[in-house]
């Protein structure tokens, strides 16, 4: 697929480059002509009304969804049908889900150690040490032998973040990480994400937490109807949106 189409022009520090990408769910054209360059260390917040394709876009980056047209190049590896490329990209890209998706039959520590042991082939002792250090970083070192079902939503999401970080990813994708949380737990997850942002991680975050966007994002992308409508630095995005649809969306989420 697209083997002979020309590679997207890559600036030196470009870590993700998406060029003319389209995706359909059956007959439904869910992503239309997406072009996006992400440079190393850049933090992007993607927002938009539900059904606008924002989750689908970031899920295409680690091939949880398959795109049908255009190119996606991650860290110099082009996403094709080739399973080897997909596995390479997935081990470089961490993902945090709205529903946490921890493995309920494994303890917190086992959840976090699993991929380093099986994918990175790390020795157990080393993986455990690394897992503990990340669990400390997300501030749950004392819960390691519990099962996910015994933790609160906020704690589960922080474990999920630690689980992704343990693979030492170059890029982190966040798919509405706080949408399934009770209000009093949103802050503890956002704090972890802000700390991660300060460490220089490349992040793509689908969220409606505009405070988070203002605090850490370099760019805010607004999507609607499967298209990127507008992309701006957060200050301009919130203070001076260009498109009517962006203005409408902002008025809906900010004034209620």
């Amino acid at each position: 697929m697209n083997q002979d189409s020309k590679n997207a022009s890559k600036s030196e520090d470009s870590i993700i480059s998406i060029c003319g990408m389209h995706k359909w769910f059956g007959d439904f054209h869910v992503l239309k002509n997406i072009n996006l360059e992400v440079s190393r260390g850049e933090r992007i917040v993607i927002c938009g009304p539900s059904g606008s394709g924002k989750s689908t876009l970031i899920r295409c980056i680690n091939h949880l969804e398959e795109h049908q047209q255009g190119d996606i190049v991650v860290e110099g590896t082009e996403l094709t049908e080739d399973l080897k490329n997909i596995d390479t990209i997935r081990s470089e890209v961490g993902m945090v889900f709205q529903q946490f998706n921890l493995f309920p039959h494994l303890t917190v520590l086992e959840n976090v150690m699993l991929a380093p042991v099986w994918v990175r082939k790390l020795p157990r002792a080393e993986a455990e040490e690394q897992a503990m250090s990340y669990l400390e970083r997300v501030k749950i070192p004392e819960q390691v032998s519990k099962y996910p079902g015994q933790l609160s939503g906020g704690q589960q999401q922080r474990v999920a973040i630690a689980r992704s970080l343990c693979m030492n990813p170059r890029i982190m994708l966040f798919d509405e990480p706080t949408s399934a949380l009770d209000p009093e737990m949103i802050k503890e997850v956002l704090d972890v994400m802000i700390e991660l942002a300060e460490s220089g991680m490349t992040m793509l975050v689908v969220t409606h937490e505009m405070g988070f966007a203002t605090a850490v994002a370099h760019r805010v992308i607004f999507m609607d109807g499967g298209e990127i409508i507008e992309e701006q630095p957060p200050k301009e995005f919130f203070e001076n949106p260009q498109h009517d649809r962006t203005k409408l969306f902002l008025s809906q989420i900010l004034h209620h």
Binding site: N62, L64, D87, R90, S91, V93, G94, M95, F97, Q99, N101, L102, F103, P104, H105, L114, A115, W118, V119, Y147, P148, G149, Q150, R163, S164, M167
Partner: protein, 377 residues
């Protein structure tokens, strides 16, 4: 009204936990809620007690106090009772126990059967028991046990060969059931995964296999095994009837297990697959570590249900002339010494199946409880 029933007497935030009213807990509470909660319920309880009062004493007399436990034939049994058939003649079962257990297995070689039974117990115990030292070695032992048992029972490699037609009774029942159960689980899992595969050819093969086997009665498959299979095989090739039957029983159970496991796989939230994929686990890694442990846990009731079903279905082999416990028992009923003792025989066989099936059922319940980690993803 006492003070404890008046919430106003506590400052906000200081209300203590009070014990529940005595009538709702304990034995009295249980009896009241379960047996006498309404007039209809009370009537049903009284009728049940009356009914039990009518049948229990006479049943108890027939089964135990009036029963004869040792005699050489039924006439001696009758002679020892107040009236013929006044009690059960358990002497019949006692006298036939060896036949029921070993079938026609040659007497000097029966130590091999005993060792097999013993090793079977050890394998089951070691494989199912949690927190046992050297669990890994127990599992390895359980995995090689079927082959070890085959060697012990049928000989070769230094042991006197014993023809498979010598197998009968409980030994045959267990050979058929244990083979069916232990080989159908891995085969069923493979079929379930194949049916969900992305490869169209593999998927089609699995679907056709499952639907064909499920759509045909087991007896038909057994007749195919006993008679028709010889037409399909190259002329001159013969392979043992018992092996043909074991293959059919295994395939039959596997088709059912496959559908049960597929249900478990579909019951899993798609987020589990996505999280495993997103971490970079390969297909086999994610199935071994994430998907199957959870899908099989969901499927335990269905899997054990299928196991119990195929265990009891093993008696169908008597239709193609193999003498399992039921077949052998029925043949024994025609023995002039023990004519007409059908109730004793069927009670014994029922008890045998009930005990083993009930044990499987209880084990599966305890397994479900143990694997419960308090989270439905």
């Amino acid at each position: 009204m006492t003070k404890s029933f008046n919430p106003q007497s506590y400052e906000p935030g200081t209300h203590p936990d009070l014990p529940p009213p005595a009538i709702t807990t304990g034995l009295i509470g249980w009896i009241k809620t379960n047996l006498f909660s309404s007039p209809l319920n009370t009537a049903l309880t009284l009728i049940s007690i009356w009914f039990l009062w009518q049948i229990l004493p006479s049943s108890f007399h027939w089964l135990f106090t009036g029963a004869v436990w040792s005699a050489v034939d039924r006439k001696e049994c009758w002679a020892m009772m107040d009236a013929p058939r006044d009690g059960a003649c358990w002497a019949f079962i006692r006298g036939s126990l060896e036949l029921f257990l070993y079938g026609w297995y040659p007497e000097p070689e029966r130590w091999r059967v005993n060792i097999t039974f013993f090793l079977f117990g050890a394998a089951v115990f070691g494989a199912l028991r949690e927190n046992i030292p050297g669990k890994k070695y127990w599992l390895m032992f359980a995995a090689v046990f079927p082959f070890l048992a085959a060697w012990l029972l049928f000989g070769g490699f230094g042991l006197e060969p014993v023809a498979t037609s010598k197998l009968g009774g409980i030994l045959l029942t267990l050979v058929v059931a244990v083979t069916g159960i232990s080989f159908s689980l891995p085969l069923g899992i493979a079929l379930a995964l194949g049916r969900r595969s992305r490869l169209p050819v593999l998927r089609a093969i699995c679907v056709i296999f499952i639907e064909f086997i499920r759509g045909v009665p087991l007896i038909t498959l057994l007749f195919v095994a006993s008679t028709m299979l010889t037409y399909f095989l190259p002329p001159g090739s013969s392979f043992d009837l018992l092996i043909r039957v074991l293959i059919m029983v295994t395939l039959f159970a596997a088709a059912y297990i496959a559908e049960v496991v597929r249900g478990g796989l579909q019951g899993l939230a798609s987020g589990q697959y996505e999280a495993a994929d997103a971490l970079g686990l390969t297909y086999w890694q994610s199935h071994r570590l994430i998907i199957l442990p959870q899908a099989l846990k969901i499927s335990i009731p269905g899997i054990v249900n299928t196991f119990i079903g195929s265990y009891k279905d093993s008696v169908l082999v008597l239709i193609i002339g193999m003498m399992d416990i039921l077949g052998l028992g029925r043949a024994r009923l025609n023995d002039p010494d023990w004519l007409g003792l059908a109730p004793e025989l069927y009670i014994f066989i029922s008890l045998f199946f009930f005990v083993s099936c009930f044990a499987m059922s209880r084990y599966s319940l305890s397994l479900e409880k143990k694997l419960e980690t308090g989270h439905q993803s």
